[in-house]
């Protein structure tokens, strides 16, 4: 144990940002869930009181994480990963269904959501694998193995069903890119997303037609260099196939509610009381906030219980309504600072394990932040994932606390670890 020796080396900026986010989060949860029936701050039937308890316990958690030797995380990463996979698989046997998803273990009065902890475990496993001296990320074989590490937990989470939490694993593309994954993968990702959206908006036939025209044009332009016909043909066919399969999956595999969510964001449907209700109400709440907001606990939309899941996934709408544009911008800034700070720290790590892990932490937090705020402001379809450190929920808070503070611990070791 080198606790005493490294105590001053913990990154106080990250800790401060963490504390600010959690505190701001709690005040917003209080405002969103406060009801005049409550008997006081410690009325544990109220979400804000429970969250206060989770926050206090997370401090205990932090002390434990920081007290452990940094080598523990690297050495036990595979075991932690396996335990995490078992806990995810175990849901299919012992899990409890809450709000339509079997994502929870109910143990006495507490409920635990293993997918919130699996992110940290996967980040550790990925970092361990990528930092292995045998691994070369420019080799397709190793890339495949790295993807497998990510795919297993994601595939265990999807059928719960919790596609939102599974989507988060896409964030790992950033650390992999940093570690040498070819740029093509990122491009491929963007291109697939563009094709996906394009297909939904214009339909598979038009998109295919456009793809064929574009490939033909590029091919003709480059014909002097004698490009390989088969390569162009394969790309074109793959794009067309992708477009049609998206169309097929969207119309035949997705449920109507999923289709509706996409269609609303894409502007193909509008409604205010039905499917798009959540987002609509949350936009109303944010929009009515203006520059400075209505003030803490003064939000009429928040108080009126118009926004569903307001203290969990939609907590940012409370920020928008009660703290206004400046308040929301402040929260966005806090997240941006935190993420940049993590990236900066990750980049100066001497151990590759710590660096990959750091990038993973930044990517996961960023992805959560972006998807969540995107959903609340109507940029994104409704994907049920929490806002890190902000949203109500013990599992979520602890999952992110563990994720972040393992990195803080790894970073602290950086100074004497050579």
């Amino acid at each position: 144990m080198a606790f005493g020796k490294t105590a001053l080396k913990f990154d106080w900026i990250i800790m401060l940002l963490f504390a600010m986010l959690v505190t701001a989060g709690w005040f917003n949860i209080y405002s969103a869930s406060y009801s005049s029936d409550a008997t006081g701050l410690l009325d544990f039937s109220q979400p804000y009181a429970k969250q206060l308890l989770w926050i206090c316990l997370s401090v205990v958690l932090i002390v434990i994480i920081l007290a452990l030797d940094e080598k523990f995380y690297e050495r036990f990463s595979s075991i932690i990963y396996l335990v995490s996979l078992v806990s995810l698989a175990g849901l299919y046997l012992f899990g409890n269904n809450v709000n339509g998803a079997t994502s929870w273990y109910l143990i006495g009065p507490a409920s635990i959501q293993p997918s919130e902890f699996a992110k940290a475990a996967t980040a550790l496993a990925l970092a361990k694998y990528v930092s292995d001296i045998q691994t070369n990320m420019s080799l397709f074989k190793d890339q495949l193995k790295a993807f497998l590490i990510l795919a297993i937990p994601a595939l265990l989470i999807v059928p719960q069903p919790d596609p939102g939490s599974a989507l988060i694993y896409a964030a790992f593309i950033f650390p992999l890119y940093r570690e040498g994954l070819h740029f093509v993968y990122l491009l491929l990702g963007f291109f697939a997303a563009a094709l996906f959206v394009g297909t939904l908006v214009l339909g598979a036939t038009w998109v295919s037609l456009m793809v064929l025209i574009i490939t033909a044009a590029v091919f003709l332009k480059n014909r002097k260099r004698k490009p390989s016909r088969s390569k162009y043909a394969i790309i074109a066919i793959a794009c067309v196939a992708f477009s049609f399969s998206v169309s097929y999956i969207f119309n035949n595999v997705f449920e109507q509610r999923h289709r509706d969510r996409f269609n609303i964001v894409l502007g193909k449907e509008t409604d205010s009381k039905g499917i798009g209700y959540n987002t609509n109400q949350s936009e109303i709440a944010i929009g009515s906030g203006g520059w400075f907001g209505k003030g803490w606990t003064q939000g009429t939309q928040t108080k009126g219980n118009f926004v569903p899941e307001q203290h969990t996934d939609y907590i940012f709408s409370t920020v928008g309504e009660e703290w206004g544009f400046l308040g929301s911008l402040g929260v966005v800034a806090l997240f941006v600072f935190l993420i940049i700070r993590i990236l900066v720290l990750a980049e100066r790590q001497k151990s590759q394990f710590a660096r990959v892990y750091g990038y993973s932490v930044a990517a996961i937090i960023f992805f959560h932040f972006f998807v969540n705020v995107g959903m609340v402001t109507g940029l994104f379809p409704t994907v049920g994932i929490p806002l890190p450190f902000f949203s109500y929920g013990g599992s979520g808070l602890w999952g992110f606390t563990i994720l972040l503070f393992i990195f803080v611990r790894l970073d602290a070791a950086n100074y004497y670890y050579t």
């Binding site: 109400q281 009515s288 009429t300 009126g304 911008l329 590759q352 402001t377």
Partner: protein, 667 residues
Amino acid sequence: MPIEQKNILNRLYFVAGGMFLFALLIAVKLLDIQFNEGDKYRELAAKNTTKNFTIPANRGNVYADDGSLLASSVPKYEIRFDAVTVKEENFKENIVPLSKELSKMFGKPASYYQNLFRKARSNKNRYLLVARDLGYSDYIRVKKMPLFRLGPNRGGFIAEPRTVREHPMGKIAERLVGNEDRNTPGYYAVGLEGAFHKQLSGKEGHRLKQKISKGRWKPVYDENEIEPQDGYDVISTINVNMQDIAHHALLKQLTDYEADHGSVIVMEVATGDIKAVANLGKSKNGSYYERLNYAVGESSEPGSTFKTVALTVALEQKVIDTATVVNTEQGRVRMYGRNITDSKRGGYGEISAARALEVSSNIGFARLIDGAYKDDPKKFTDKVKSWGLDKKIGISIKGEGAPIIPEVGDEIWSRNALPSMAYGYNVSMTPLQILTFYNAIANNGVMVKPQFIKEIKSWNEQIAFYDTEILNKKIASQNTINQIQEVLKNIVQRGTGRSLYSENFSMAGKTGTARTDYSDASAWAKDPKYVSSFAGYFPAENPKYSCIVVIHKPSTKKGYYGADVTGPVFKRIAQKIFTDSPLKAEIADINAVEKIVNADYESYYTKVQKRIDKVPNVKGMAGMDAVSLLENLGYRVIVAGNGTVKNQSIPAGESPKKGTEITLNLS
């Protein structure tokens, strides 16, 4: 896995830059929502969080002529239980005492309630019905029981108030007063409630409220945007005592004669005020209840009571006089191919026209009228129509039956029509329409419109007063009227109505016995059905009230003649109203007391109107009135005992806060 240094930096910038771009995207979106579309969203938010609440107006009361309540709105409570919201320890601790208390109050065993609650909890029932239709004081009692006293969130106590229309006089005159439609609350179609629905219901108010948390709304302004206007009170002409007499007299006779249904109307001769309307029909189990408004709605062949109309026409047009002799032969003649019979075996032989009415001879009337009018039947029917007997009177209540008086050229006219009309067939009228004619005879020829409503009031202010409406200033010459009055009096003295005769009390009227449902002659022969009636007035010399009694389908085994079936009802009503009156002295006293109470009562309302929040003196008032008066003033009333108020816990003149409890001891 070494990578070139520059490449790494590029990758870092690329990742960080990408993230920064996304963050910027969010900031732009925020700007768009909060400023570009901010106004739209602020408007939507305001629309979302404020709502116009309807404040229901209090429905007015329906009063009898002496101010007794016939219909009034009172709050009733339904108690439900949310078995999920209660915490385990509270549930365990309180479930037994709560069940015991409920058992004490409602009489069911405590174990019944315990089972009920436990089952509800295991089934996660959040809306278990515990009790319904509780009055205010009962509701307060339940609210204070263990567990329930913890309130809606911790005790699972749900109370749902609703306004119920109560009839303090019970089922009496229910059809006339009218009922709330069972399927559409707040909708009144029938009776006085239906006729004066607009005046009674008042106007709803509005209040703008803002949602402050789940299920909680706070008024935006101090005052209501639109104050509700309470409905007006309707003061009917109904006299509670007469109604009671009529109801029970009819009920007794219907029961004795196992009749299908019947009705009674009592009308004040000079004013046309309807003092009582009883309508009783047989239910499936044989008991009688206020079923339909037969008195107003049922138009049928009147039979012999119409002979008076025929005789009045003939006398007035001087085609015969009361002494004109007619040969009724042996009580059986054939006219235009149809048999006409009289009820007396062997017949009456040669009799005068007046005597023909006294004994109610069908043959006599058929021959008299046919003889006088067969060449010009229109002369006869025109006279009848000139009194408006072929038209609805046009009363305020819905569903008045249409009378039928045929004339030459009509589809139902035949050579038989005129002689049939003479003794009350081939025409159709409602009891109220016949009574209107008899009332005109009693009123020396002045035909007045039957009236159900005296006035409409808002607190003490008179909104409308309904004066007597004269339909026909003089339906016939005084001479004719005198003659008819004389004959009607004689009917009771020595004619078909002689069984009614009483030495110390004079009545005048005409019996009627009409066949009904006779279109299938063979079926009728097997099971003859009659409508028995009696129309008349009393006292005969100086008529005060007219009255008609109609009973449909009495059991023929017991009797069916008007004199036997309906006559006694008429007599009982007449005697109860007038001759059984050693009460008179007492009535004077009661009136004196009532006047004082009424004066007080009215002054309270005046005070209420001026919003002076002082407790009124309710001593001596009927318990129900006192409760509604005090509750309307915003106090909570606890009642002990029955009857009139003996004393009140907060004396008159004090002004405690709204919501203060006042205990009333009744005796």
